[in-house]
């Protein structure tokens, strides 16, 4: 059934209430304007952890809620609505997924309770180039004695500058472009030879570039299988993509909601501009598309809850649809606000910025439409 159950509805309501009061858009604005070093509010993140959000995907035996992807997606969507800054996507969605799916008990015991408690931040270091391309992983993990030496670089590592550790996709065999030969390593942020440079992003989202100059790693640092880490990487990325799709749904819905309110308020030519059919039809079209996004996103989250290994088509449909509609929503929202929509003082432009980063991360519309076509035989 493509509906939320009672627990999920309750989570949605409480999350919306909490975020509206504790992390409204003005909170992001303040982090940005104060040039916050962390880029998020650690005290607020601790509160979110206390409510169980940080460990929403962490199994109960490791101190989490084990609530599932529909719940995680609800939180992503609500955070998208208020543009909340937190390490939720990197740590609670992606890292928790990878650790849970890796089957490596040592790593699970080492990190999962910390994630659930809001104490550990773990970022996924995957992409290196201009666009998302996990198979293109080139960062080399060369065999060295009993272990490995990591050399190369990573870009747009979300929450990279505040992370305690990284899940790094590295090449242990094969050539960039091949799915075989990729291995995932857990690397401590303080590791020797690792330099981290914060990237100030357009949406004030936290990210970093990483440089690995012969960072040492051992077999014990490997998450999942050596040379065959790609399926686990895909599972981790699937969770991140679905989370971003949910966030984009929230961005689109909130941006649209604010715009409809503005259409009902703003007067020109002696009437509210929302009474002009030219604007009504564009708003109605956008609303239809946002309704459709909601279905695709919920379906992807439910598919992940059923089996994260087989959810790839559902996730790509959701990410492609959500990203294309959120773009339309952001553009229409600024246009319908008119000149005031171009000003930094009004929030609507902040949604456009968040839309852009959420769309690009872990595969843009083209990336996911390509996957959908391949899955459908063309």
């Amino acid at each position: 059934m493509l509906i939320l159950n009672e627990d999920q509805k309750m989570l949605q309501e409480s999350a919306r209430g909490f975020l509206e009061s504790r992390s409204p858009v003005s909170a992001l604005r303040k982090l940005r304007d104060d040039r916050s070093i962390d880029g998020f509010d650690r005290a607020l993140w601790a509160e979110m952890a206390e409510m169980g959000w940080a460990g929403i995907l962490v199994p109960e035996e490791h101190g989490g809620l084990g609530f599932g992807y529909v719940g995680a997606g609800i939180l992503c969507e609500e955070m998208g609505r208020t543009l909340a800054a937190s390490p939720f996507l990197s740590t609670s969605v992606m890292a928790a997924t990878a650790l849970r799916a890796s089957g490596t008990l040592g790593h699970q015991q080492r990190w999962l309770p910390g994630i659930a408690g809001g104490r550990a931040i773990i970022a996924a270091a995957v992409d290196e180039g201009r666009v998302h391309d996990p198979a293109g992983t080139a960062l080399a993990a060369e065999r060295h004695g009993n272990g490995f030496l990591l050399r190369g670089s990573k870009a747009v590592v979300v929450d990279g500058h505040v992370a305690d550790a990284f899940i790094v996709a590295a090449r242990t065999a094969g050539a960039p472009g091949e799915k075989d030969g990729v291995t995932l390593f857990l690397v401590d942020a303080k590791a020797k030879g690792l330099s981290i440079e914060r990237t100030i992003m357009l949406d004030s989202r936290n990210a970093a570039s990483l440089q690995f100059d012969g960072v040492e790693a051992t077999g014990a640092d490997i998450l999942g299988e050596t040379d065959a880490g790609y399926p686990l990487l895909e599972v981790m990325l699937g969770a991140g993509r679905a989370g971003l799709a949910a966030e984009l749904a929230g961005i689109a819905a909130e941006s649209f909601g604010r715009t409809v309110s503005y259409l009902k308020e703003r007067k020109q030519f002696g009437r509210t501009i929302g009474s002009f059919q030219a604007l009504q039809h564009r708003a109605a079209h956008l609303f239809s598309e946002i309704e459709i996004v909601g279905s695709a996103v919920l379906n992807a989250l439910q598919a992940l809850d059923r089996d994260a290994n087989t959810a790839s088509l559902a996730v790509s449909v959701a990410k492609a649809k959500a990203a294309s509609v959120a773009r339309l929503a952001a553009q229409e929202s600024v246009q319908m606000h008119g000149g005031i929509g171009m000003t930094d003082a009004v929030d609507i432009g902040l949604f456009m910025k968040r839309m852009q980063s959420a769309s690009m991360l872990f595969g843009d519309v083209s990336f996911h439409a390509d996957r959908v076509a391949l899955a459908r035989g063309f």
């Binding site: 059934m1 009474s275 009504q280 309704e291 695709a296 449909v317 035989g377």
Partner: protein, 396 residues
């Protein structure tokens, strides 16, 4: 095994044993669809057998109550039946305006006698219905219709003209909107009547469309006598029924948006015509990019229909005015898909007559889809409904 799993197993076995092999292939054209009715000539024994076997179980109308010829299935069971039918590629045993439109309206507004008289005959494919809504002067502005029904004591006398009456020349009965009060505001003087198309004074004239086919007619009523028992609901309050029925119609037309030709999407059809490159991608990159987005949109749209139905079935809000979203998005998608299929067909899709192209079935279907965003309320009317009723944007 859960009840639903048991139902699935039983359904699968029934379909396996009872669905003739020739009824497990995609519908190629309108002629492959079984519409039923007094004048219906089955295309094959298989078509007849399939319809009769399903009707005997009430599965031509799975969710209608058994007392009226239906299958009495729950929403979940009906979904299972649909899934199992699509798993073996089974065609719908019977399609009709009776099933889509009049049936749901009678279930909601008809009296017991009307339900018992008409519903089982729809379920068994005995009576084929047509819809008398649009008039030459009442298209998008449907409520301004002028066909009038005068009270003649023991009957109504209907005079006027309808247009775009789908298959009026093939239908046995019509459900018809008529003006019964000329002085009341336009929405409050309309009634909903049922009558036999063989009644004296009824004539039909097919309209040839750009597709070369004639699925619609002009329909003329010259002092047609209609028994008073054939009024559905309350006199002068037929607009409520009309609106309810339009909601169903919009849902159904919208559903066509994900109903892919022969169960294959444009991208998949293009693959047959063009082939794949060495990386397994459709060898025309421009067409592929457009087809891929259409695929995304079609899959997401189909999920939206599922979601609305699931919400309604679980006691949440029904589809209601959101049928305008389904109608709008579904028909625009269907037009887009047919544009892509014409691109995939290339020069071959230019043939209009001849066996090779099944008498130009692709270009004719393409042209026919242009009406999708007009019939049952234009896309612009749908956007008006969404803007006013769902978004509460102010009137001019």
């Amino acid at each position: 095994m859960t009840d639903l799993a048991a139902f699935r197993a039983e359904t699968r076995a029934f379909l396996e044993a009872n669905c003739p092999v020739s009824m497990r292939s995609p519908v190629r054209s309108d002629e492959d669809i079984c519409w039923g009715g007094r004048n219906w000539r089955f295309q094959s024994d298989d078509q007849r057998l399939w319809m009769e076997r399903m009707a005997a179980r009430g599965w031509t109308v799975p969710t209608w109550p058994k007392a009226y010829g239906g299958g009495g299935l729950s929403h979940e069971e009906a979904k299972v039946l649909k899934e199992e039918m699509s798993a073996i590629g089974a065609r719908q045993p019977l399609l009709s305006f009776g099933i889509w439109m009049l049936g749901p309206a009678l279930l909601a507004f008809g009296n017991e006698a009307q339900k018992l008289e008409h519903l089982p005959r729809i379920a068994r494919g005995e009576i084929r219905w047509c819809q008398g809504y649009s008039e030459p002067g009442a298209g998008s502005d449907l409520a301004s219709l002028q066909t009038r029904a005068e009270d003649k004591g023991d009957h109504y006398e209907v005079t006027g003209q309808k247009i775009w009456t789908s298959y009026a020349d093939k239908a046995d009965w019509i459900f018809c909107l008529v003006r019964t009060n000329a002085t009341a505001p336009k929405h409050l003087g309309i009634s909903f009547l049922l009558f036999d198309m063989t009644s004296p004074g009824v004539t039909t004239r097919p309209i040839t469309l750009i597709s070369g086919k004639s699925p619609f007619c002009e329909t003329f009523f010259d002092a047609v006598k209609v028994p008073k028992a054939n009024l559905v609901g309350t006199l002068d309050r037929g607009w409520d029924i009309a609106k309810y029925l339009l909601t169903h119609e919009r849902e159904m037309i919208g559903e066509g948006g994900s109903g892919l030709l022969g169960g294959r999407s444009p991208g998949q059809m293009a693959t047959d015509a063009i082939g794949l490159d060495a990386t397994g991608r459709l060898a025309d990159p421009f067409l592929r990019a457009d087809a891929a987005m259409a695929e995304v949109d079609a899959l997401a749209f189909a999920l939206t229909m599922d979601r609305y139905k699931d919400e309604a079935a679980s006691g949440g809000r029904g589809v209601g005015d959101r049928s305008a979203i389904l109608k709008y998005a579904g028909t625009e998608l269907n037009k887009r898909n047919h544009e892509l299929m014409m691109r995939a067909g290339g020069h071959e899709a230019l043939e209009w007559e001849g066996q090779r192209s099944n008498d130009g079935s692709l270009p004719r279907a393409w042209l026919r889809t242009k009406a999708n965003s007009i019939e049952g309320g234009t896309s612009e009317v749908m956007l008006d409904i969404i803007a006013k009723r769902l978004l509460q944007l102010p009137s001019a």
